[in-house]
Symmetry: C2
C-alpha cells in the first residue's frame, strides 16, 4: 500500500477503465482542489461525496432477483413497477443496455440482463448467463414475446440465436432488434457489413 495519500488516490483512479496515469493525476488534483474549495465555502467536499457514493454502492447494490439488473433492493424499479407489461421481456447483454433502452422511453416491458454474451472459448456458457433463470421467468410471466436486444456483433447474434432455440419449446414469440443503417446515416459512409445486412433485411413498403 502506498503511503502517500495523493499517490494512492492516483493509483486507485488509474484502475478505472480508460483512465491512464496522467488522467488519474488530473482527476486527483481536481478532486483535491474542488474539495478544499468546498470546505472553504462551508460545503461538503467532492472527495467525501464520491467516497460515500462508492461505499453506499458497495454496501447496497446487488442483482435484481428477477431480471439480474443492478439495484439497491431485492427487485429493481422496472420489475416492481406495476405499469410495466410483464408479458414482453427484453434480453440484453449488460446493465448499460437497460439504461440505453430505458432512455428511449419507448419500451414498456421488462428485462433480463445476461451480464455477457455466449463465448465458449472464454468459458462463458449457458450456466454463466443464468439462462435457466431466464426460461423460468418467461414461463412464470406467461410472456408472449421475448425481444433479443443483444449487441449486433458475432457474439450477440450467436447468443440471440442460441436463446431463440432454447425458448422454442416454451411457445413464446421471439424477436430480434433490427440491424441496418443508423438514423441520419449516409449510405456512402456506412461499412460494408452494415450495408449488406440492411439490404438483406429490407422491409416491404407496399
Amino acid at each position: 500500500m502506498h503511503t502517500d495519500p495523493i499517490q494512492r488516490l492516483i493509483l486507485e483512479l488509474g484502475r478505472l477503465p480508460g483512465i491512464g496515469e496522467r488522467t488519474a493525476a488530473r482527476l486527483a488534483f481536481y478532486i483535491i482542489k474542488a474539495s478544499s474549495r468546498a470546505v472553504a465555502e462551508g460545503g461538503q467536499p467532492l472527495s467525501r461525496d464520491l467516497a460515500h457514493a462508492l461505499i453506499e454502492v458497495s454496501d447496497k447494490v446487488g442483482l435484481c432477483k428477477e431480471c439480474q439488473n443492478l439495484c439497491a433492493h431485492e427487485r429493481c424499479a422496472v420489475c416492481t413497477d406495476p405499469a410495466r407489461d410483464r408479458t414482453v421481456l427484453c434480453v440484453v447483454e449488460g446493465v448499460a443496455d437497460v439504461r440505453a433502452i430505458e432512455s428511449t422511453g419507448s419500451y414498456r416491458g421488462i428485462y433480463f440482463v445476461l451480464h455477457g454474451a455466449l463465448a465458449p472459448l472464454d468459458g462463458i456458457g449457458p450456466e454463466e448467463l443464468k439462462l435457466g433463470l431466464l426460461v423460468e421467468r418467461v414461463q412464470q410471466n406467461a410472456c408472449r414475446e421475448v425481444i433479443m436486444a443483444t449487441n449486433a456483433d458475432v457474439e450477440g447474434d450467436a447468443t440471440a440465436l442460441y436463446l431463440a432455440q432454447l425458448l422454442r419449446s416454451t411457445g413464446v414469440g421471439v424477436s430480434r432488434i433490427a440491424s441496418g443503417i443508423p438514423l441520419g446515416g449516409e449510405l456512402e459512409y456506412i461499412d460494408h457489413a452494415t450495408l449488406s445486412r440492411a439490404l438483406s433485411e429490407r422491409r416491404s413498403v407496399y
Copy 2:
C-alpha cells in the same frame, strides 16, 4: 440527494472534469462489476479501495508550508529532502506541473506552486497567488536563481514577467524556461506562434 445508490454514484462521478454522463455510467458499472468480482474472490472491492483513498486524501492532504505543493504533511517531500539544492527555485502554475518536471528527473532544486496565473479580470492578483510568500522564500533560502516555469501562454508569460519585476529588488537571477519547437516536431506542422517564437528566441551555435 438521489436515493438510488447507483444513480448517485453516476452523478458524483459525472462531477469530475471530462467525464460526461455516459462515461460516468460506464465507470460506475465497471466499479460495481469489478467490486463484486473482487468480493467473490475474497479480495477488497475497488469501490472501497477508491473510497478509502478519497477519504484519506480529504483528511490528510494540505498545502506544503514552504512551496504550496499538495502534501500529506507540513512540508512536502521536495522541501524536506536535504539533497535538493535550495538556492534554485522553480515557479510553476499548478501541482501537475511539479509532477511533470519531477518526472523528467533533471531538476534538483525546489519549487513554488502559484495555484494559478495572474488574471486580474478573474480577480486573481498577487495576493491570491501568495507572491509575498514566494519573495520571502527566495530571500530566506538566499536563492541564486528563480526559474519561471509558468505555461507558455499569455497568462503564463504575463505572470513570469510580473514576478521577474517583483523579484528584481532581491537581486536573484531570474530565468524563463525555453519556448520553441518541441523535440520531434516538424517545422511544417508547427503553429505560427510557436514557430515565430522559436525564430525570435534562436540561440547562437558558434
